[in-house]
């Protein structure tokens, strides 16, 4: 067993890991390594060949591979060590990382700090428990995307998509452009889970029907999928049997949610938040285990990769500080509370006794679509400040800056609460 020591080990070479590693390096900790399980860097981005990335971070519109390549170049320019085709099997609370690859065999890496950047996985048909059979041709949109864009195979010719998450919408267009008949996108909720621009560019442009309040109630076909039964649901998401109809299809793609991939985190005794599916973190994106940080979709599922980059830089920055011994936990915490219409706020706590807190955005999502909203922050019940947005959608993350100065004035505050409410008259 090969045993080595590293200042920082980054697990995952997707957008989160790439940005975090470069940030660690730029903060003076050059002994950083990225462990990536795939044959190349970039995570999911190389298969996301569509445009729409980078508008916030680079102020220009890039495709997934282009966005990824900029950060791959950053890592390469800094000569940051990367191990590809390397699977991490275990992480311990005392920051030992066990990994394996074909060239070097089994590795034990003793890490000064660990950055968890494993991303997320897709919810499957099995997890939904859709009744019916288990034929070929039922797959997640992301798997279909890999088959199509990386391996070069079209999963099928008559397609129904369940769930209106972004990958589902993107794959509707991609399959259509590859000649498939995309019959419908079914969404059980009364609103879409993806970005509005994707509904326009991927469905409306190609006359692909978006059926809101609809779900797949049966999978039909023993060998290859033959058809699906779709049914309208009532306001409690219960199917209305009288509305069922059969749609002939050889492919069912699922875009029904992403789940942060925290199996390794659990092995390291990292405590998870049931709402986000990711670890509880402080403003440095440090988990309950000292020196283990988390960023990107392993922490919470983001809508845009731009925010993943931003968040990963925060984690990289603080991981570097940790290794250099530039901060310690104060022990006193301000708890962030998701108030009215808010499903979660990241970070969960503010507690570090560090130097700068300049980059201190709060990430949050609303639990229901709202028009013309006020975003109100309260410190122990007292209003801190508020600002307005034209709308808020559960599919889109909201970023709220929390200024250094505001924080400095918060002596002895126990809790900051965020409410997002519609302006009166809405």
């Amino acid at each position: 067993m090969l045993k080595v020591k590293k200042d920082v080990v980054v697990i995952g070479g997707g957008p989160a890991g790439l940005a975090a590693a470069a940030e660690v390096y730029d903060n003076g900790v050059e002994d950083v390594i990225i462990l990536e399980r795939d044959f190349e860097l970039g995570g999911i981005l190389p298969q996301c060949i569509h445009n729409g990335f980078g508008l916030h971070y680079f102020k220009e519109e890039l495709t997934g591979p282009e966005y990824s390549q900029r950060f791959e170049n950053d890592v390469e320019e800094r000569d940051i060590e990367v191990k590809l085709d390397t699977m991490v099997l275990d992480v311990t609370p005392d920051r030992k990382v066990y990994a394996m690859n074909q060239e070097e065999g089994f590795l034990e890496i003793e890490a000064g700090a660990v950055i968890l950047a494993m991303g997320c996985r897709e919810r499957t048909a099995g997890a939904l428990g859709i009744p019916g059979t288990r034929p070929a041709g039922v797959l997640t949109a992301g798997t279909a995307q890999r088959f199509t864009n990386i391996e070069g195979y079209v999963p099928g010719e008559e397609v129904v998509i369940l769930g209106s998450g972004d990958i589902g919408l993107i794959m509707a267009r991609r399959m259509r452009l590859e000649g498939a008949d995309v019959k419908a996108v079914c969404e059980i909720l009364p609103y879409t889970g993806g970005l509005t621009r994707n509904v326009v560019q991927c469905l409306e442009d190609y006359d692909i029907p978006l059926l809101l309040n609809h779900t797949v109630t049966k999978i039909i076909g023993n060998d290859r999928l033959e058809a699906v039964e779709i049914t309208e649901v009532d306001e409690n998401m219960k199917p209305k049997p009288e509305t069922s109809k059969i749609i002939k299809a050889d492919t069912l793609l699922l875009s029904v949610g992403l789940i942060p991939e925290n199996e390794l985190s659990k092995k390291a005794d990292v405590v998870l938040d049931d709402t986000t599916g990711g670890p509880f973190v402080n403003e440095g994106r440090e988990t309950n285990i000292e020196g283990i940080f988390a960023c990107g979709n392993v922490l919470h599922v983001h809508d845009l990769v731009d925010w993943v980059t931003q968040e990963s830089q925060i984690a990289g920055n603080w991981a570097a500080k940790y290794v250099k011994g530039e901060y310690k936990r104060t022990g006193s915490k301000i708890k962030m509370k998701a108030g009215e219409n808010v499903s979660y706020v990241i970070p969960h706590t503010i507690e570090l006794d560090g130097s700068d807190r300049n980059r201190m955005p709060l990430y949050m999502r609303v639990s229901t679509p709202l028009m013309a909203v006020d975003i109100n922050l309260y410190a122990d019940g007292e209003k801190l400040y508020s600002f307005s947005e034209p709308f808020a959608k559960p599919g889109e993350m909201i970023t709220v800056p929390l200024a250094q100065k505001t924080l400095d004035d918060l002596d002895d505050v126990k809790e900051i609460r965020v409410d997002i409410i519609e302006k009166e008259g809405q």
């Binding site: 190389p46 508008l55 495709t63 282009e66 864009n149 452009l177 509005t196 621009r197 442009d205």
Partner: protein, 125 residues
């Protein structure tokens, strides 16, 4: 005949709801956009919608069988399928560099089809 259409601006991820009043190809009024991009978008969307086309091209001797590509600027939505056919018949020899022009001035749109990643040659074992 005067018509009104509500569009979702796709110029950025914000997705403003823009309302356009128009008669034929003549724009009468635009409302609801948060920035000038929204104005331009709405005008174009009524007269002649355009899109970036992202797809893949076949690669000879590459580490992967396909290389992702896109049009260097937006092209008319109505010729997307024609563009797909042209790109579908193309084969490019690896190595490929990001930005490399794969198809020049596709369908006389003034847009080039360019590679969106580096793709090295396949390493023969």
């Amino acid at each position: 005949m005067k018509e009104t259409k509500t569009l979702t601006c796709v110029a950025c991820p914000k997705g403003c709801e823009v309302t356009v009043e128009f008669e034929g190809n003549e724009i009468l009024n635009i409302d609801g956009h948060a920035c000038p991009q929204g104005q331009t978008y709405a005008e174009e969307e009524i007269v002649a919608p355009t899109r970036i086309l992202p797809t893949t091209v076949r690669v000879k001797g590459g580490a992967l069988p396909l290389c992702p590509v896109k049009t260097s600027k937006q092209i008319p939505l109505e010729i997307i399928h024609d563009a797909m056919e042209i790109i579908g018949q193309k084969e490019v020899e690896a190595p490929i560099e990001i930005g490399q022009v794969i198809v020049e001035n596709i369908l006389d749109t003034g847009a080039d089809v360019v590679a969106t990643r580096d793709l090295p040659r396949k390493i023969e074992v």
